[in-house]
Symmetry: C2
Subunit: 354 residues, 2 copies
């Protein structure tokens, strides 16, 4: 029988639920290849209670309970828990998956949860941008001290390998700059404005379609892109910048006639995040830019596009077609496999000694 | 003192020479991080002789000799060698780097060199498409049996991580198809035709610029793209196809008026390589296609663009800005680091036991 690999989830919204749905099926083979059997030993939510079961929670029942708007407390086999932080400190798990709702201006409560888990010697996997944008250096130091992994592939461009690409596939290479279209909501609004829609109308349509949030400032004022840009600068360029340091202007000032005129010339207006080192100093910006026709960042059909400038490889780029819940859930799988590999190896060594 | 990591080169053209230039400088840190010191113990060329020195050849002198059109035989410290295959069988090295000129219709002599090295229990790194397009499955089996690595990142899109991306960053994912613009020479010729140049003139310009070869059939008849498409299908989709199996049409039939008309509509004609599974059967094609405006494959500024269709991540893409000698040399570094890592680990274990 494969050994259990115990996963605890903080946050059980769309991404967490999709992850739980896929775990027993499409995701199982990746763990089986390591000789491990994933079990979810705890789930903490904001509005649907929390539950711990050291033998593994019944996922189907947990999904039905939250979908019906009831509380997971009914499944709890441990002592009652005060809050998510108490949950992180108590749950018996090899890894914490942090996907709680994020305050983009503080990175909390994700940073607190990540730190508490690392301090306990648990691996951490997160799709939250906050910890990477606000506290990467200190969290990496802490993880190293405890000998555990801290992985955050889902923080930017969902499951598209960004951080893992640089870490695993570009040995000896320095990232010297980047340029990206990282916020899909603004791209969709700007595309509609190219067709003549007013900003207000394009925004309303995106809200009705469930693409933009009811409070859209996070996207259209460039906060989301700024947090992602900091995550990239910190993780790929060794920077130590925070979202308030970003030179930031959103798309409220873009007028339909600008968008349409650009489009007629084959060009496009997009919200572009940039990081670059100028005279040794790193600057990060998020600004609407007019991109010329044929620019790789101006193409259709991608929810995220990123170009990296490197010393040994010149310019390279990646894009993600559709970015959604499936892709973010995949980022969790990809990172979990990475932290599970040393766990599997340790088990193999132990059983070889017996 | 770091332990030596012994590299033998078969082929010492532009890529091999660039690799040798960069090895002591920009590339050294990647090996140092593993506790290894790269030494080139042998170089075999087609027209500049060959040399073996178990203590490491003097790279600066070797470069000066070939640049002056003289023979490397002067540096040989071993018994005289009959040919490159004899060199592969004799050279004392941990890894063979295969970068000899390729016959795209047979994959030789690269396949013979790779096989001979693997049979000796040497790791193999190649930037040659031939072995991957013609003999991947059998070479992988042989490498596995001998417990060594066979890596070929440079076979497609130079140093851009293609094979490594899928292998290392997309765990549990199946590649179900691909679409790519993989031959830079045809892209440049088609771009000039968009501006009104005739095919003959665009080709001549590319030849004068050193982009197209004197015998241009390999590029413009789609052979190069077909070999790359097979390499992708075999390595990423588990196929077993060979270049003659590819449905292939080059760009000789494209007329400037087609290109210009497409361009006026924002569209573009490009030589597109495709692989897909239809009803369980894999088909690979290389055909000129009219790509709509905004298609990611139709953008400027990339020498190679590849879109992968996957089960868990949907469509994802990668591009390489400029692809040249530097980028192909980097593919060798990237693969060498991968095969060196287990060598370094074994050394560490051995010295820990002492």
């Amino acid at each position: 029988l494969p050994a259990p690999f115990r996963i605890a989830l903080v946050g059980f919204g769309n991404v967490g639920r999709r992850f739980a749905e896929l775990l027993p099926g499409p995701y199982a083979s990746a763990f089986r290849a390591l000789g491990l059997r994933p079990v979810i030993t705890g789930i903490a939510t904001g509005r649907h209670g929390m539950a711990i079961d050291p033998r593994g929670l019944p996922l189907g029942r947990a999904l039905r309970i939250v979908r019906a708007g009831r509380s997971l407390d009914a499944l709890n086999e441990a002592a009652p828990l005060r809050d998510a932080l108490a949950f992180v400190r108590a749950v018996p798990a090899d890894v914490l998956v942090e996907i709680s709702p994020l305050d983009p201006q503080s990175g909390q409560p994700a940073v607190r949860h990540v730190r508490a888990a690392l301090e306990r010697g648990m691996h951490v996997v997160t799709a939250n941008k906050g910890p990477v944008a606000f506290s990467l250096a200190s969290l990496k130091r802490l993880a190293k001290r405890r000998g555990v992994g801290f992985r955050h592939e889902g923080a930017v461009m969902d499951g598209m390998p960004v951080f893992n690409l640089v870490e695993r596939c570009l040995p000896g290479t320095r990232v010297t700059g980047f340029r990206g279209v990282l916020n899909a909501t603004t791209t969709r609004i700007l595309s509609r404005m190219e067709e003549g829609a007013s900003f207000a109308r394009a925004l309303r349509e995106a809200q009705v379609a469930g693409i933009a949030e009811v409070d859209p400032g996070n996207d259209i004022d460039g906060w989301d892109a700024a947090v992602k840009a900091c995550a990239l600068a910190n993780a790929l360029m060794g920077a130590d910048v925070r979202p308030p340091d970003v030179r930031r202007r959103g798309i409220r000032g873009v007028r339909p006639e600008h968008s349409a005129a650009a489009r007629r010339a084959g060009a496009r207006i997009r919200l572009v995040a940039r990081g670059r080192r100028v005279a040794g100093r790193l600057t990060v910006s998020v600004l609407p830019e007019r991109l010329r026709a044929g620019d790789l960042l101006a193409t259709d059909g991608a929810d995220g596009i990123l170009e990296l400038e490197t010393d040994l490889m010149g310019e390279i780029g990646i894009w993600e077609g559709r970015g959604g819940v499936d892709q973010t859930a995949y980022a969790l799988l990809s990172d979990l496999v990475a932290v599970a590999a040393p766990v599997a190896k340790a088990l193999t060594r132990r059983s070889a000694k017996r």
